[in-house]
């Protein structure tokens, strides 16, 4: 409840600020808003796909944050997930897709998940073993993964029939997954994660670990194993998000795979109170903002980075509203006693 109020306040405050900025830039805010919504409706499939990708990323991040593991590199894990899925779809699967296309699709998704999981396992292990800050390592790996993605679609995997267009060859159409399947995957993932953090021993270990590594060690929690599990879940879901983009929406490896969704998901996880199911509520809003931002660019020449700026501002507003909430709560409790 407390989380919900803080999240709503933060969103409203950020929107208000956004309106003010638009107004300063001589863009009528309400018209812009209407345009954005219209675009979201017109491209509802894109919006839904974006929302699902953000859900997957946000769920993974909220699991990590619950264990006090600051995985801020979901973007990188998404990239390697996409690479792995595309690799399976383009170069491992035979042209005949024998024995069944869906098998190869599933394999691509699994490969993406594993790639993301291992991309995040490294930071988790070095954090467990040598207490290397995962904020730094996961972020550095974002840059590495983005360059790797770029290298592949510009270099060896570039589509020979693409007229020099930057991107890999498209995946065979029978490898595509429908949005329904992605939605099912996302929902199941979120529910499993929610059960994991709330109802299992591992979830309890995570909450002790996030509080203090010392207490965890004292209580006999295997810190390395716990961090490894958390890292693999978090990275795996991000990798799956990447694979889903390749097999579901983009259909190939292009620069549009990595547009900062991994960072947006950090805000989503925070606003959702680090609850995997809360993510499902918050993510669609940001998906609409991100898709709608394209309308701002087309109609009013406002660059799309507007939505990125709004994300950051929303996070700052959220911190402030959590603080205000705490103060009010304290005053309220003070009156009671």
């Amino acid at each position: 409840m407390k989380h919900l109020v803080a999240a709503v306040f933060a969103l409203l405050a950020a929107l208000l600020l956004g309106f003010v900025v638009l107004w300063i830039l001589h863009v009528p805010p309400l018209d812009a808003c209407k345009g954005m919504l219209a675009l979201c409706w017109a491209r509802k499939m894109d919006t839904a796909a974006k929302a699902l990708v953000l859900c997957l990323l946000g769920t993974g991040i909220s699991v990590a944050f619950r264990a006090g593991f600051w995985n801020v590199g979901a973007e990188g894990q998404l990239c390697v997930g996409a690479i792995a899925a595309a690799g399976i779809g383009l170069y491992v699967a035979p042209a005949s897709l024998w024995p069944a296309p869906w098998l190869w699709t599933a394999l691509a998704l699994v490969a993406g998940t594993l790639a993301g999981a291992f991309w995040c396992l490294g930071p988790a292990l070095v954090r467990a073993k040598w207490q290397v800050s995962e904020v730094v390592t996961t972020l550095m790996l974002v840059y590495v993964a983005k360059r790797l993605l770029e290298y592949l679609y510009l270099g060896p995997w570039r589509d020979p029939q693409g007229y020099g267009f930057p991107g890999s060859a498209p995946l065979s159409a029978s490898l595509h997954v429908s949005l329904v399947w992605i939605a099912i995957l996302t929902g199941v993932g979120a529910i499993i994660c929610a059960l994991l953090v709330k109802k299992t021993v591992i979830g309890f270990e995570m909450s002790v670990l996030s509080e203090s590594r010392d207490v965890a060690r004292y209580g006999g929690i295997h810190v390395g194993r716990c961090l490894a599990i958390v890292g693999m879940i978090s990275g795996g879901l991000a990798g799956l998000a990447g694979a889903v983009q390749v097999t579901g929406t983009a259909g190939r490896l292009i620069s549009g795979i990595s547009v900062g969704d991994g960072f947006t998901a950090i805000i989503i996880a925070c606003l959702a109170g680090r609850h995997p199911l809360g993510v499902l509520i918050v993510a669609p809003f940001w998906a609409m903002l991100k898709v709608g931002a394209e309308d701002l660019e087309v109609s009013y020449q406002i660059p799309q980075a507007f939505s990125t700026a709004l994300e950051g501002i929303c996070l700052l507003c959220w911190l402030t509203s959590v603080w205000i909430g705490r103060r009010w709560f304290r005053r309220f409790r003070g009156n009671l006693t």
């Binding site: 830039l25 600051w70 801020v72 070095v126 040598w130 207490q131 290397v132 800050s133 904020v135 730094v136 390592t137 972020l139 550095m140 790996l141 840059y143 590495v144 360059r147 790797l148 770029e150 290298y151 510009l154 270099g155 960072f263 950090i266 805000i267 925070c270 020449q301 406002i302 660059p303 799309q304 980075a305 507007f306 939505s307 990125t308 700026a309 709004l310 994300e311 950051g312 501002i313 929303c314 996070l315 700052l316 959220w318 911190l319 402030t320 959590v322 603080w323």
Partner: protein, 306 residues
């Protein structure tokens, strides 16, 4: 592109390294100062980005690079104030606050930049900061000397003076420092402000003196690399400057490779600074510095308790 007369390859790389290192050093010094006082500033990347944009934009509007530098520093100061308000005064989680700042500021720079900057080739004001104009400076732009001078000031303030002791006390045990009469919140906020100002200034130098133009991807991870280098150097201003130079050398090397056309993709070469940072950070934790008088600020990331 091998037409650098009278200058061999190593010298060229080092010149480029020093040029890139000076903005890095400034931002890194700011981060050292604010982390010494106990506040992590993960918003560095964003502050540099905004500093770069504002520095270049103001210079372009008013035709003076020096004014641009001042504006970059000023806007960094403002962002620093926001971070100080969140991290010091309301005691918000410094990691989340920093990430928010980073996203907001990089986003703002990328969003306002294209609307503000109109591209021109080599505007006149750029030459104000170029090395060729100052013959006495051994071929380095004046901003390099600015970075060095600020570095020396930071070393002397942090190691000897009462202010430096107060800063370290605020980062090591804020409650004890408060009991000794240090106004910890004030010290921390001013350190974050200085850190923000230096980050903004560093951004302005990056666009005005180093790149001599503005692009929307401007700091391109430099802020994050600096955040990684600060613990690696044991929070010491001298060492952090050295590490900046080394990383800048890696960067210069990789750019040189791209120029002379090494048979490796530009994307792969571009990874080099990040991979180098990763390796260095992990190695730095496996073989840490010998513990001395300058250990990790033990209250880093922890707000002052009431």
């Amino acid at each position: 592109m091998m037409d650098w007369p009278a200058m061999n390859m190593a010298t060229a790389i080092w010149m480029a390294a020093v040029a890139y290192a000076s903005p890095m050093m400034l931002a890194a010094l700011g981060e050292v100062i604010s982390e010494r006082a106990g506040v992590m500033n993960l918003g560095l990347e964003g502050m540099i980005a905004v500093g770069a944009l504002v520095g270049y934009g103001v210079s372009a509007d008013h035709g003076s690079a020096w004014l641009g530098l001042a504006a970059g520093g000023g806007v960094g100061l403002l962002l620093g104030a926001v971070h100080a308000a969140l991290a010091v005064w309301i005691g918000a989680d410094q990691i989340v606050a920093g990430l928010g700042m980073s996203l907001a500021a990089t986003g703002a720079a990328a969003f306002l930049g294209p609307m503000w900057i109109t591209w021109r080739s080599q505007p006149a004001f750029i030459s104000e900061l170029s090395a060729s104009r100052y013959k006495a400076l051994l071929g380095f732009p004046p901003t390099t000397y600015l970075a060095l001078a600020l570095g020396l000031i930071a070393v002397s303030v942090l190691s000897g003076r009462r202010l430096g002791i107060a800063i370290r006390a605020s980062g090591d045990s804020p409650e004890a420092a408060e009991a000794l009469g240090v106004r910890v919140r004030a010290v921390r906020s001013s350190c974050v402000l200085v850190g923000g100002m230096l980050a903004g200034l560093s951004g302005a130098i990056l666009s005005l003196a180093y790149a001599q133009t503005w692009t929307s991807t401007m700091p391109n991870g430099m802020g994050w690399i600096i955040i990684a280098l600060v613990p690696l150097s044991g929070w010491r201003p001298g060492r952090v400057m050295l590490f900046c130079l080394l990383l800048a050398a890696v960067n210069a090397l990789q750019i040189r490779f791209q120029i002379i056309g090494v048979k490796l993709s530009a994307s792969i070469l571009d990874m080099m600074p990040y991979v180098a940072t990763l390796i260095a950070v992990i190695a730095g934790r496996i073989w840490p510095w010998r513990k001395g008088r300058w250990n990790e600020p033990s209250a880093l990331g922890r707000p002052l308790e009431q």
